[in-house]
């Protein structure tokens, strides 16, 4: 009971607003699924405790004012062993005539000493999951820990379901633990190893910088996928065919691993009633029903924040459906080759000898709820605030225009009850107060400026006053 009152601050967020670019247009504010954004002083402000790093704001921004804060690429050269840990969807960003080998060799050319796919962690994880879901003590449905935006969404919006989150690390962490161990076994020193994940989304960065349920991540840094994509694509275009760089040695992924990060990638390989749901609003609707126990008897849930899962990550550049197509081709090709060679997938997995070492490391501690819904920790106080909120809400115009700097009348009412906003921020109320002589025109302007900044209209171009004739 006490645990859900714990709102930990200091959570890392990778989504940042560029103040000099933001025009305060409210697009991000209205799409944010956790209502984490307000407009203040003419700019979008993200509330840390509410943000789950899903990236919906970034997608909606018309001026690219929201960016994903990643590590400086040159940071890789601080390490002797520079490992690019790439998601399978990276390959899917390129047209089919650019081979996997070509992409990898360019990664080596731009400075990495090793290239490794995050999905190499899938085989061990999958085996462990099969055991995990069978345990009678785990809360059903088991919710996959794969998508960090979903894990965070559950923490803040569905705290009752935190106990359902699977306590196993995602494949990316499994792969990085393996690489580290293998390099150390081969003589590398810990501080010489830099593992850099090429991320398709902000959520993975947040998870790596402040992991949920574990102390530190084995990953050194994170670089945005769109950045690496551009670097690779430019190099490929500038390199004559046939002169490819030496290929780093890697074992091929299994078919399951290739498609793991796509929708159904996990669910199709977990027995029982396993469902796959993608896109954050779909996920929220479903979790609502699970939380009410309107839907029951489900064994496993694969939930992903992005439409088409990681193929639709905010930092991907290719059309998500084409990415899915390419990965599907790659998976069937892999399966065909593996069948022809007569080897089982695990015989080909170079990680297999390390399974014993890795197994105890892939568990994580319980995921803590950090609910944001409560109006106050103290129930009596929360009831007082709720009464106030409901009263305020009844007086608001219910047009959800956003002109007050909050995403909806409901949200403004809540902010007012929390003493984070004032009644006169509402345009309709302010107008009424002005007419009634309760405030002066100068007060009204001051309030407007506090929300929209004092040069909102200037930003849109001076001398462009449509109220003047003959322009």
């Amino acid at each position: 009971m006490a645990s859900d009152q714990k709102t930990s601050t200091g959570f890392h967020h990778a989504l940042k607003v560029k103040q000099e670019v933001c025009i305060g247009c409210t697009h991000c504010m209205t799409v944010c699924p956790t209502e984490a954004i307000r407009v203040k002083d003419g700019m979008a402000v993200i509330t840390d405790e509410r943000c789950v790093d899903c990236g919906m704001c970034l997608r909606s921004c018309p001026v690219k004012a929201i960016h994903v804060d990643h590590d400086d690429f040159n940071h890789i050269f601080d390490y002797k062993y520079r490992i690019a840990l790439v998601p399978a969807v990276l390959i899917g960003q390129f047209p089919e005539d650019i081979s996997v080998e070509q992409i990898y060799s360019v990664l080596a050319d731009i400075g990495f000493t090793h290239v490794y796919e995050a999905e190499h962690g899938v085989d061990l994880l999958h085996q462990t999951m099969l055991e995990y879901v069978k345990k009678p003590i785990v809360a059903k449905p088991v919710i996959s820990s794969f998508c960090p935006a979903i894990v965070r969404l559950i923490q803040v919006r569905f705290p009752a379901l935190t106990e359902n989150v699977m306590l196993l690390k995602p494949p990316l962490d499994v792969a990085s633990l393996y690489i580290k161990k293998r390099l150390v076994d081969e003589g590398a020193l810990d501080h010489e190893i830099g593992i850099f994940y090429i991320t398709p989304c902000a959520a993975k960065i947040a998870a790596i910088k402040s992991p949920v349920g574990e102390d530190v991540s084995a990953i050194t840094g994170v670089i945005n996928l769109d950045f690496i994509f551009n670097k690779i694509y430019r190099t490929i275009k500038a390199t004559p065919r046939g002169s490819s760089f030496p290929l780093p040695d890697v074992s091929p992924l299994t078919g399951i691993a290739v498609k793991w990060s796509l929708t159904h990638g996990e669910a199709d390989h977990i027995p029982g009633r396993s469902l796959a749901i993608d896109e954050i609003h779909n996920v929220m609707d479903f979790l609502e029903k699970i939380e009410n126990e309107e839907i029951s008897d489900i064994d496993f849930l694969e939930l992903r924040a992005c439409d088409e899962s990681c193929a639709g990550g905010v930092l991907t550049t290719a059309n998500r459906f084409l990415t899915v197509e390419r990965l599907n081709h790659r998976a069937s090709e892999t399966i065909r080759r593996q069948t022809e060679s007569g080897l089982s997938a695990n015989n080909q997995n170079e990680m297999a000898p390390y399974f014993g070492h890795l197994l105890p490391l892939i568990r994580v501690d319980e995921v803590q709820p950090r609910g944001i819904m409560q109006l106050d920790k103290d129930m009596a106080e929360a009831m007082r605030k709720m009464n106030k909120r409901n009263k305020v809400y009844n007086a608001l115009p219910k047009v959800d225009c956003g002109a007050c700097g909050a995403p909806s009348c409901q949200a403004l009412a809540e902010d007012i009850a929390q003493e984070k906003a004032s009644f006169d921020q509402c345009f309709f109320i302010r107008n009424r107060m002005l007419t009634a002589g309760k405030i002066q025109l100068s007060d009204s302007k001051q309030i407007l400026d506090s929300i929209w900044g004092n040069n909102k209209l200037k930003k849109l171009g001076e001398g462009n006053d449509p109220t003047k004739e003959n322009q």
């Binding site: 609502e288 939380e291 009831m383």
Partner: protein
Amino acid sequence: MQFEFEVTGGDFANAGTASSQVKKILKQLNVSVSDIKRIVVALYEAEVNIVAHAYSGVVTVEIETTQVRIILKDSGPGIPDIDLAMQQGYSTASPEVREMGFGAGMGLPNIKRNMDVLNISSEVGIGTTVEMIAFLNVA
């Protein structure tokens, strides 16, 4: 504080509206996760009972810092033998209702298990009133 919700018999599409609203309210009042869970489960069952077995009803939810009291008053056929209805597995649900996945006769026993107080009064041909109370687990 008090809230009211209306429930319409036969409207399976909207069954669960009251429980999901109440859940939201309780979350905002920082009621513990385990209390919310049992209250919402019980309310959902009682709500569905109105939808499945009665014509219309009103749900009144009274929230205090120490307890949540819910009264569901419906007009409907009533329950002739309440002790029998309370038995696990007893159901008079129509084939159509069963087809929708209800009618296992688990609802009332489930409410009893989850709430601290359950009182049912019923008049055949007139309707049923279900009163249930959960005492909140105050830390």
